[in-house]
């Protein structure tokens, strides 16, 4: 066995001793301090979950409705879609609608209901 092998064996023996070295055990006082930290923080968490912060205002119905729809990102998408729909509707009026209606909406001339239906003609004009 070489000196290096012997030294490695010695090192393994020292490691074995270190695993159970009582001098490295935490003191009871320290254990108690750590446990006190854990219990104190647990109390803080419990208090925070049980009693709501009185300084915070409760959420209104509008907020809850908005939250249920997905919050601001969803509402922004909805608003964009609405505006786009209105714009598409108006811009398509003159290309999609029937000619007669387009004339009514697009012309600067005045139109009267009597042009559409003879039933609107007043009786005194008949005779």
């Amino acid at each position: 066995m070489t000196k290096t092998d012997r030294d490695m064996d010695m090192l393994d023996d020292l490691f074995d001793g270190a695993v159970s070295d009582p001098a490295l055990a935490p003191s009871p006082d320290f254990m108690a301090r750590v446990l006190a930290d854990a219990e104190t923080h647990q109390e803080v968490m419990r208090a925070a979950s049980v009693s709501p912060d009185p300084t915070r205002r409760s959420k209104g119905k509008l907020f809850r409705l908005m939250h249920s729809l997905g919050g601001w990102p969803t509402l922004a998408g909805l608003a964009t879609a609405t505006i786009a729909g209105v714009w598409v509707g108006f811009s398509a009026t003159f290309t999609v609608l029937p000619d007669a209606l387009t004339d009514v909406l697009g012309s600067t001339d005045d139109y009267y209901l009597t042009y559409l239906d003879s039933g609107y003609v007043f009786g005194d004009e008949e005779g």
């Binding site: 012997r6 030294d7 490691f15 695993v19 001098a23 935490p26 750590v34 854990a38 647990q42 968490m45």
Partner: protein, 194 residues
């Protein structure tokens, strides 16, 4: 003051942490008993100072209590997370105190120092700690985790955020350096020359 033994070995750490976050007082006690010796022992080995190790261990465990409500069960090992926090805290302290002799370790409290065997054991442990303190920080961390804490190489890799091969290299170099250093003190430490 005597703490009772941990009687809940079968419950994993992460499950206990969830119970702790839900207000279970027994979980707080079991986690404290289970984790504090590991965290403290590792910090003492890294820093060579009990008072500083207590500060580090207390801080690391406080961070664990705080993160408990957000802990995702099954994603990471609690001990891996804790060892990483301890390593970072120790590294910060070692940077601040660079230049201070790491082998200036205070004598551990021991009531049975009158027995020659205990004296020799103490001298051996002090010699090991002194030699560990002379290693580069990363080598020291890897050697302590592997050979004293008994952590597996893959978990050490996760703790140190390096590959398994790098862990093997660090531990091998660390062991060689320790053996060479302590080999000079064989006789003094009560080991035969044969």
């Amino acid at each position: 003051m005597t703490m009772p033994y941990d009687a809940n070995d079968e419950i994993p750490d992460d499950a206990l942490l969830v119970l702790y976050a839900n207000g279970d007082q027994a979980a707080a006690r079991v986690l404290t008993l289970r984790l504090t010796p590991k965290v403290f022992g590792h910090a003492v080995r890294m820093l060579g100072d009990r008072a500083e190790a207590e500060d580090v261990a207390q801080e690391a465990l406080m961070r664990l209590w705080k993160i408990a409500p957000d802990w995702r069960q099954g994603e990471a090992k609690v001990t891996t997370w804790l060892y990483r926090v301890v390593a970072n805290l120790c590294t910060d302290r070692l940077r601040k105190t660079r230049g201070v002799a790491l082998d200036a370790i205070p004598e551990p409290e021991d009531d049975a120092i009158s027995a020659p065997e205990m004296l020799q054991n103490r001298a051996r442990m002090d010699a090991l700690q002194s030699a560990l303190g002379a290693l580069p920080t990363r080598q020291r961390q890897a050697v302590i985790l592997r050979h004293i804490e008994g952590v597996s190489n893959p978990e050490i890799a996760a703790i140190m955020e390096i590959g398994v091969e790098a862990v093997e290299s660090l531990t091998a170099r660390g062991k060689r350096a320790l053996a060479a250093e302590l080999g000079k003190r064989r006789k003094e430490l009560g080991y035969s020359h044969d």
